[in-house]
């Protein structure tokens, strides 16, 4: 188990907003369909996705996801980043594909 702070310190991705850095990360989860993420994403997970809209944040918040990593150069708008900060969810961005980004987190976890 690592925390969001571990991911920040690792410097693997660009930090957009830190949210609550003390949140635990126990697993990494990849999915772009929000309906599936809502039902299947483990709580306290790092979620790697290319779906960068406001509903992504709602799902992350309601499913107790600790942080979002937006892959493939996808970004949130400023309003969404403000919302993420309020919800205590860290947001990172990266140019890496989903699998490569997730693999880097998995390497930290193991």
């Amino acid at each position: 188990m690592i925390t969001t702070q571990t991911l920040i310190d690792a410097g693997l991705f660009t930090l957009k907003t830190a949210g609550d850095p003390s949140k635990n990360i126990g697993k990494v989860f990849c999915c772009d369909l929000l309906s599936i993420a809502m039902g299947r994403a483990p709580s306290e997970s790092a979620w790697v996705t290319v779906m960068g809209n406001r509903n992504t944040l709602a799902v992350a918040s309601l499913a107790d996801i600790s942080c979002i990593v937006l892959a493939e150069g996808i970004t949130f708008q400023d309003a969404e980043l403000d919302c993420a900060e309020q919800e205590g969810i860290a947001v990172f961005t990266t140019e890496l594909p989903v699998f490569d980004a997730a693999l880097k987190i998995q390497e930290l976890l193991s």
Binding site: L33, L34, S35, I36, M51, N53, N55, A58, L62, D64
Partner: protein, 140 residues
Amino acid sequence: MEELLTFNYTIPGDDFTRAGEASSSVKNKLKKMGLDSNTIRKVSIAMYEGEINMVIHADGGTITVEISSEKIRMILADTGPGIADIDKAMENGYSTAPEEVRSLGFGAGMGLPNMKKYTDYMNIDSTVGVGTTVTMDVRL
């Protein structure tokens, strides 16, 4: 007779930017009440799926959340088109959501199955052309 703690929400139709506000509000209230995180997660996921369904299919509706010492009951009522075949709607992957909704990441046909998965009781009362009422309980 035990007094229920009741919250009422009106869900605006066809406004995806606000979808989830009611569920977030309930989640925050349950957190303040000190409920365990697993219960809060179940209620949040089930209610959000229902809320999204109302926005996608029914031009909004109302949600009533009743909290007793035994359970949290969510009653989602709309006056939308109704569900013609409830058994079909309950199947994983079956969806009638329009393309623009799918492009936002919804409409994978997981909503109703997720609602059932995360609740202890779920009932769908629907009449085509009249509307749908979904009642869900999470036991405490």
